[in-house]
Amino acid sequence: MTKGILIYAEVTRDNYIHTVFFELANKAQELAAKLGETEVNALLISKKGLAEDYREAFINSGISKIYVCEDERFETYYTESFAKAAVDVINEIKPEILLIGATNQGRDIAPRISTALHTGLTADCTGLDINEKGQLAATRPTFGGQLMATILCKNMPQMATVRPKVFKPAENDNIKPADIIYKTVNFDGIEKKVQLLEFHKKLMTEINELDSAEIIVAGGRGMKNTEGFKLLKEFADKIGAAVGASRVAVEMGLATHEMQVGQTGKTVTPKLYIACGISGAIQHTIGMDKSEKIIAINKDAKAPIFEIADYGLVGDVFEILPQLIKQF
């Protein structure tokens, strides 16, 4: 019997498929090849009439079947109704593995689905593999990112969430339209208890500042105070960079959550990443170590950030940054 890997295809507010889907689809092909006799399928929960369009979007992703739950009530994402639809489909088709992007929606729905299915869920994986027993081996940083753990699951489906940009998207030339399989949705027992009253979309510049920046200047614990972040911003403006922050800096109140780079923040891949007063805990580096070039300034020559940096300068950021600003 053919086994299955199911991928949750998140529909964005603009009715696009979230890019993390294509990254997961690509990784799933690799896992399917290791498992043998395994199909990679998609689960799509959306308003009516879009499935054909989405099939077009999926054409290079190696998806065999798209399980579609369509209803006008799915125009807006609500945890309980979406989770119910997903659980019903999963109970019927019984995939071995279920992958979900670790987006806001993915992180909201995944634990609801896993709890309802009485199965395990590994959050924010940075590595997925199939072990010698054919199990999903999901690797993730834990303990503040200072320890890596490979986690297995006893029950089915084995579930994992993966953050956007951890894997590369599919570059499959094999154009093969997927089969669309419509599933009826049973809304029994689903009372609408949550209502979206307003949505204020972020401006493109706000959303994409870190995502699209070619240069990022980021500050951590070593930036100490708001004066430190002002200095950082001044330097960033001089060289046309966006400003990022480590989790510690956000927790110290020096930067907002949107500026946070790392496991619980954004994953960024700029041409140049300049880490100022950041020690380089995996929590942080996991979100920036794929940057083309990394420069680190830190007063501790043994800070782990230097292990991933291309260029480093050991010293006090409060002395070095003003000097640097003068150079540009």
Partner: protein
Amino acid sequence: MKIVLCIKQVPDTSDIKWTENNTIQREGLESIMNPYDVYAMEAALKLKNITEATEITALTMGPLQAVEMLKKAIAAGVDKGILLSDKKFAAADTYATGKTIGTAIRQKLSDFDLIICGQFAIDGDTAQTGPSIANTLNIPQVTYVQEIISCKNGELEVRRELDDGTEIVKVKLPALICVLKDYFEPTRAKINGIIKAQNSEITTYGLEDLELSAEEVGLRGSPTYVSRAFRPEPKNTECVFVNSAEELAEKINICKGGGND
């Protein structure tokens, strides 16, 4: 209004030391209240200020030493503390934790209106336990809550901060919310709170107090298990150290494509 505040004691992960065998040195590692749970506590206390007759019960699962954290919560203004502690609860994953806490709330605090959790715990970073509790209790959840706007007529209005924008959401109680930081700035313990904490009774429940079997909790009740834990390997990049800001500026120019090398 009855609020259940779910909090967790976590190791202070910003100060981890390694043993020679590449394991985490746990001795002397300080335990703190998970920072996001501090925000959750502040959200609960804010509600207590604006909503009449609010009672906040802080609930945690962990070793007996977690009593200290519950006492700190009471000192800050929380009314009662409940500790779920049993050797059999140990090493639970998020599924088993959600089930244990959810069952305890259903049995011992069944008249709750609102459950408040932190969005993440800094040791596990999963953000899964809150939704898992909500699913166990079959109640709605609202995650990524940045601000509580109002609470009236059995409904809570909140602001959610998401990657693509801000949502204003209304949820019927009983419900569970997971809160982020920023808006909820922590308050300090008050003197009368500290006195209250010293005299407070923390109720402790073990496995025999809950309608759960040993197979449903802790490591045995966890679908997931760790097969391997290891120290992350650093990337083998050879860092070229420079000695001055001038030299570093040159390197920055090269990296950003503005240099002549």
